[in-house]
Symmetry: D2
Subunit: 428 residues, 4 copies
């Protein structure tokens, strides 16, 4: 009955803070989910092109992980353990080493910070400042690294920064790859580092996303990433890659930076590392920089064992060989080609296709139209969101496990939504 | 086999960051847990006097919550939902209102920040700064509010602050209740606020813990709390109570501030609010101060539905009437009296008993002896930790659900540990 | 003619910024000055109880210095020389050593910062931070050290701090001697330094005025100064005495800290060090802390040779033996006794006498009455100003060279002004 | 006698702080000065191509100002007056209005901050922050604005910034005109202001020097200045021109920005505004932005009447008509052409000529050679200094009153010094 499904929304609105956001974009009460599909309480099904903002790379409620979770609960294995040793933790550390690090010839110490993206970023900034004894950190235009004061200080969005309610300091925002047309952001960065009169001190670290998810699906080129790494080596600056959203296969490889060949000093992981969408975060630190004192950065939920066992299962299931990765890369081509065709076929959008892997979108040159497209998509059964400083990018973040059929179906709905949005825009 | 239980610890040490702490204090691999007991992989049982640093007020793996969790998983109800509307969230909001807020005559909007204590604190500081347009926040000596830069800036411990690697600003540390013997910290605070020449600007907020858990189990008096609240009202300062550790019944009432009668403007909850030890945090905001813009503070794990359903179940089970609360208060007397007797009977400790409810400890005047007591306790099958700037307090945080029998047994072991610690101290 | 003397004030008001202040308190155009007397353009004479806010300890236009200045100008000796070597500078360095440092058994390197009090303070903070590698500086309630951002950050007045337009950081304001009745501000300071959980890091320096001129004529006791110095030695903190206003004999000895026996690591001088009221400032630094790089703190007017020759002459004239000092100390008793009698005889003021030497005042407990007293005094031919966060102190800073006759005359006028102010206050 | 001239230098070295700089570059004791000539105590004459770092635009000890100063002293006119009204101040305000502002169609309120360049900059930043309610200020690469913390925060040189001993915040360093070859620094600035995701908030002010004196004699183009002004108007940002070194005729017009036609909101003046090299500074503020409270920025030496009367005399003598200005512009051509020829004729320097008016130099591409040139020049009787982050520019700042003959003579010596420097460089 309509009254029933409406009431709960009223309860939300009455009791939850004004800060709530996605319950405004997707104004319904969700109930069940499986793979790439979510159902609301009225039984309506939605294709999920948002995937928990990248936290559900393996889809909702994956059966194998679910089994592991239920089994873990049923056996009364320890669930909450701070950062004490547990069998779950030991197994995860082994699995991560064997499945992720060794095959990629990477060597990192694994830190469990508090289980959010912001927390891994905060820990990364702290260790970089400690190791170098420097205070400044360079971040980039349109970067997003989280909402706590440290993470926010390297986040570029002015609305979000303003929310700090105080000046954010000890950071400098440099131009990301291709920030100004025909201009070389790398040359700028180099000049600022090299010139003793640039007004910018030698930083402790440079932090970057290889593909800026919140900032407008801006994908850095390999050359730019390699150039930044080179500068870091030249000036003894730590290179931090925030792979919270772009990692765990999102761009077609486990780490988003693999194709570029760079080896960051610190890597931030969260979102999909938990496998099942449960809170977990990791900070990977090159052994020589693992100079923490015991408990120097701590937190209550560093031993969220349910997330940890799901995480281990996800790694074993999807990353033990390259089948999954190749499948993702194959489907990525479908996305790229489709978005490219949208940009070409609907010049009214003044759009360009952006991104790579399962992290793509179309940036629209018409104000408000990307939001309109997402609205129309929701009404047609697809959940997708905007991105970028002006919400100008209609963004796709489907589960990597989506079937090609569902992917195509979702993209078709997206096309219909584009048409509808254009029509309404013209009419208005 | 010994080899087996040793190996996993080696794996931890090799692969996990130096930052790990509790696996150093409790050097074993834990496996199972129930109520107030934890078992390691070798089958040794431990009485848990630490309770996840206060995150397991209802003990480990409580059967009723466990049932709810398994049921939720089995039905493929939506697990990860960002901050979209879900049935689990709606039920929680209703439950929290009926079971917690209404009976206490409190009216708050509920915000779901990222699921850690640091995150609720960061959100509280932000909203206070936004609402007042001021930048300064007053916190107290020996306060602990978390490890992200914003939370750290109101945390007093110098080791932890130093870990920031940069100056922490826009905060002032005022003396907590009884910080200096025979002196009135309230008069000091009042003078600083009143005097235009104090060097301290009018703050956006005053943030405090009613019992400082990490800072040495310092319990503020009712009078002091009321005095601080009065100053907040007089100068239009927001009063934030960080009830992350002291809340959810830890001190004998749901909120730790209930006996004082104060009504904070913002309340921070985390740790035990999740019921089962799963990551969850809430920021409670008086409706008139709920001035967030949509998404102004966001995060990926604001819809950790497993934690949310366990949280609802915990509230219904333990807080629908006052039976549980009275039981906790009764057992608290046992703890108080026992710790008092320890302080009296073992003058070698130069100790005083501190704290209230299930958050008590003995502060020792002999360097290193509190740590020794905890070490001895662990070797005898009790898990407990120290607190305070010099780790000078042997702290008790048992699950509130502990049986009186187990409580007494644990306290007996603690006494033996005190004796052993004294003996070894004398010998050394 | 009235029109003439009125017009110029109109020109000021039209053309000078709103920031002007003393031309509001003393609304006339001044023309000539000699010793303790100033004449306005209409020929009205005023006894100067303000002495350039302490910059004219030797009175206006002292004949011997005037002769030296005219001679220097007439010979075309180099006037502006940056910080190049000049004969004037060499003579000053020798004179300062022989007349000031050696007799007091003090050993300092002399730095010429920019010629203002703020600049010597800024340089003192910088060198302390450099030498210790720490960032925090402790200052005191009601301190005044200047209006540039660094100096302002250690200044306590909220109106002045607010003028920064941005948060002032890396400083903490501790309670000055006697800040809270019956409370021991030294014990607070000690506890904050000693306790690892105080929330206040080990500072680079503690900066203080022995008598707070702008902050309300608060004179620190010898015991307090000695206690602060002891803490500085214990924790390797640099002790900076800002003697800009209280130095050069103002309190009865050349340095204000002489009676306490403390030996600051850095001393800030300005105001009367120039002798004739010309801009000059010095930063005295213990040799072991003189770790500047060449030009690390520079400025255009570090070689204001006119001020330097007047400064040398002043030292030779007044400080070669103790005649002047004893004379000042003698007259100070007259001031003390008179102000004490005012406080007793006019209970309507609810006043207490404060300060020492030629830096005294009466703090009034009735709002606005101190300002009224100064207004009345001006109308009767005495120039004096208020001090304190609420302008609650009627302050006396006469030239040290004032005759006893003029001093008594001025104090008599002050008494009449008190009577008039009380009368008008009662009437209002 | 040699012993005599050596001794004084020894006195300097023993007693003055290590921070001293110019007495190292020019290791002699100076005694007399007139016009463009300085004599040391041994009677050696030097052509002054440094002019007090731009504080002596009218040369040393100008006879007409000298006469005014002696007369002022002899009459016992008030010398030090804080910011009280004096006849000297009123005359200056009138003169400045008639001679400087009105003919240039400019309308500013005149503020007298403390008498240094740093102080006028500090006051400019404060009023901009107050008026806009914003905290950020944009400055430029290679900017120099002074050594106090506020001024230093907009100064770019890393050695000088590092001297702060703490992070400098609330400022961003943008690329100055032509910072990177063939790149458009203006487009960069525009993008950062316009993009909500740039990471740079809307600033209170943009502060700039039209010719960067300390930063390497970088002269901004008219187009760039106009572009910056346009952005300021578009985004309601205050434009502050720091004309401390480039003002008072140094570039050929009274204000350096006159040729560009821009109208700054705030102008900072110091150095040569005092005429005779005596400390004086002005902050010019558009009437609508003169929103100071009385005394909100104050200082002891705001009424340095000797400097004020010399300043009035200088304005009347040199700026009442355009004779002086034209003469300066004529001689500037000589400088430009000569420096240009040096750059062409001595390719070993890898040099380019830079700057405009009497603020020019040659930037050398060979490390250390500019310093060598200045050394050689000093040994041949010319005083000149280097500039730029690597001291790579041999800089000319002669008095504007220098005769063409002396100018040519000095340039000839400079050429000889270049030859000698090249020879020694090759030899080494």
């Amino acid at each position: 009955m309509k009254t029933e499904s409406t009431n709960p929304m009223g309860i939300l609105e009455e009791n939850e803070s004004q800060v709530r956001s996605y319950s405004r974009s997707f104004p319904t009460i969700f109930k069940k989910a499986k793979g790439h599909t979510i159902w609301d309480a009225d039984g309506n099904a939605y294709i999920d092109f948002f995937a928990g903002a990248g936290a559900l790379n393996y889809g909702h409620n994956h059966d194998e992980m679910k089994k592991v979770l239920i089994d873990y609960l049923q056996n009364d294995y320890i669930s909450h353990s701070l950062d004490m040793g547990t069998e779950a933790r030991v197994d995860f550390l082994q699995t991560f080493k064997k499945v992720v690090l060794e095959p990629r010839n990477l060597d990192y110490k694994v830190m469990f910070p508090g289980p959010t993206g912001a927390n891994t970023v905060e820990s990364a900034l702290k260790i970089a400042r400690k190791v170098t004894g420097r205070e400044l950190v360079i971040s980039f235009t349109n970067a997003f690294h989280g909402m706590t004061i440290g993470a926010l200080s390297v986040t570029a969005n002015s609305f979000k920064r303003h929310g700090a309610g105080m000046p954010l300091s000890n950071t400098v925002s440099m131009p990301f790859d291709d920030y100004i047309e025909d201009s070389c952001s790398l040359a700028y960065l180099e000049k600022y580092l090299e010139d003793k009169g640039s007004g910018v001190a030698l930083p402790a670290a440079i932090i970057l996303e290889t593909v800026q998810g919140e900032g407008g699906i801006n994908a850095a080129s390999k050359e730019w990433l390699q150039g930044v790494e080179k500068l870091c080596r030249q000036y003894d600056i730590l290179l931090i890659v925030d792979d919270v959203q772009a990692g765990c296969g999102r761009t077609g490889t486990f780490f988003s930076f693999e194709p570029s060949g760079i080896k960051p000093d610190v890597v931030c992981l969260s979102k999909s590392i938990g496998g099942y969408g449960l809170p977990l975060a990791l900070t990977l630190i090159k052994p020589e920089y693992d100079q923490w004192g015991p408990g120097e950065h701590n937190g209550t939920f560093r031993g969220n064992n349910l997330a940890i066992v799901a995480a281990s299962k996800a790694l074993k299931t999807f990353w033990s060989n390259d089948t999954f990765q190749k499948n993702v890369q194959g489907k990525s081509v479908v996305i790229s080609e489709t978005l490219q065709s949208f940009a070409e076929n609907y010049p009214e959008l003044k759009a360009e296709a952006r991104g790579r892997g399962f992290m793509q979108g179309i940036a629209c040159g018409v104000e408000g139209i990307a939001e309109k497209i997402c609205e129309e998509a929701f009404s047609r059964g697809v959940i997708m969101e905007t991105s970028g400083p002006q919400s100008e990018v209609a963004k796709l973040l489907p589960p990597l496990t989506i079937t090609e059929e569902a992917l195509v179906q979702g993209l078709n709905i997206m096309e219909e939504s584009i048409k509808a949005a254009i029509e309404k825009h013209v009419a208005s």
